[in-house]
Subunit: 250 residues, 2 copies
DNA sequence: CGTTTGGTTGATGTATGTCAATATTAGTGG
DNA sequence: CCACTAATATTGACATACATCAACCAAACG
């Protein structure tokens, strides 16, 4: 399933194009499967890179490392995401893309994808949708980092992961558990807090009976409470969650 | 669109295409000048909006307001920026665009711009460049909010404003003063800290002899110290400082 | 096995938030 | 032009969320 139930809300006519674009891109990339070990760099920071990727298995992230050792995970990519779409327009990548877990990707040279992008509107739609979706997530994350407490951010993130996995069919639409390969230190790098504090917040979540994380598995034990916790940061779009959840929103 | 159109961003003649695109878009929008008072909403949050804007005078921002009153300025737009380019692809805008000061804009219906975008590679280049540039700034701001101290963020922001104003010719390439209509409370909303703390940091900057802000005018009195302060957050791109001003974006 | 990596917890420090008071400036209407 | 009001800026006293440092445990691993 293509990743875009929500997009259809605003542009129903594009949903089909998205699904077709997804399939067509899959067709174009299918001979190029590659595997990266956890921690490997798919794209090295501050280098030119000429490929666009489709993430098939595992999680990846766009990350910036500062000279003094600080580290920020800017975006997290889940299976089904395209990444480095911008290679089509700008070859220079300021930030690295790292494999968070062992990942399987397919890739395509930007010239080839660009040719297809120009020739086939389904492919263009799929690419543009990816860019728009990333922009949407970046906006939300700026809001979360700027205004959210550690608890709010973490709750939002765990719900976001669940929603995205459900959307692509990686888990059932109402499933409350999923595999999450990020370590607490990596969560910290994305949340903009320290690993120690991530640990403490997770402990409090666990003790509230909201979420448990063990062995890379997230189990949401009280999604209403979790949604309640994240709710100050949710925008209208994020509130469109599977009704079956009974998630309480305000 | 011609196949070569979208390659412009990789190439040396990229700058020419951008300038031509700028002019062509100006031509398309020129009959549509509008003015908004400071504080007015150009785009209301969670509404459909069908125009793409060119900011001619004054500053604007994309802003999200949370239900509990918290507020985050996601991006700041300066004269010369296009904004709401995404109207071309997604009409729904989650976040508001507000006039920070009194602004003058021109606008174009997304269908008309899209038609031009498809027909004219210069226009496509200019639009795509805007999207890529915004993405770059969002990435940097996520890093700043996630990892930077209040001082680092503010120093980065003041330098960023200066650089962008210099780039569009609003101030001389080496000028160290510019008008900045944001109040301390608005700076706080963008920086993700409180207005009181903005005030304190500005005071310390003033007392260090780095920057003075008065009557909406920023005067950088020690740009090296300021750059030093922001430097942990600077990526390779941002390090382009006044003396290398000829350099253009990747 | 020892070594490493990730997780957990406590004691303590600090950057930043909150509250509150007072200047200062900007607007507004008379 | 003044008097009145609302915004904005400034500053101090105090509170707190989160960071830092340090120890220890458990599981993975070579």
């Amino acid at each position: 399933m293509s990743a875009s139930a929500r997009f259809a809300l605003h542009r129903p006519e594009f949903l089909d194009a998205l699904v077709r674009g997804e399939d067509k891109i899959a067709e174009l990339t299918k001979a190029s499967s590659m595997t990266f070990a956890a921690g490997a760099s798919v794209i090295v920071a501050n280098t030119d890179h000429r490929f666009v990727y489709r993430l098939l298995q595992g999680w990846a992230c766009r990350s910036r490392q500062l000279a003094d050792g600080r580290n920020q995970f800017i975006l997290i990519f889940l299976p089904g995401d395209l990444f480095a779409v911008k290679s089509m327009f700008v070859t220079r990548h300021t930030d690295a893309v790292l494999a968070v877990s062992r990942i399987v990707v397919e890739r395509i040279h930007y010239r080839d994808l660009h040719a297809a992008y120009v020739a086939d509107s389904d492919i263009a739609t799929r690419c543009i949708w990816q860019v728009m979706e990333e922009e949407r997530r970046l906006h939300s994350w700026v809001v979360g980092l700027g205004q959210g407490s550690a608890e709010e951010r973490l709750a939002l993130l765990l719900l976001d992961f669940r929603g995205r996995l459900a959307q692509t069919g990686a888990i059932g639409p109402t499933s409350l558990a999923y595999n999450m390969p990020l370590t607490q230190a990596q969560l910290a790098d994305h949340l903009g807090i320290t690993a120690v504090h991530v640990n403490r917040v997770l402990k409090s979540f666990r003790e509230c009976g909201m979420v448990t994380i063990r062995d890379g598995q997230v189990v949401i034990t009280d999604i209403d409470a979790l949604a309640q916790c994240a709710s100050p940061l949710l925008d209208a779009h994020d509130r469109v969650t599977p009704e079956c959840e009974g998630a309480q929103q305000t």
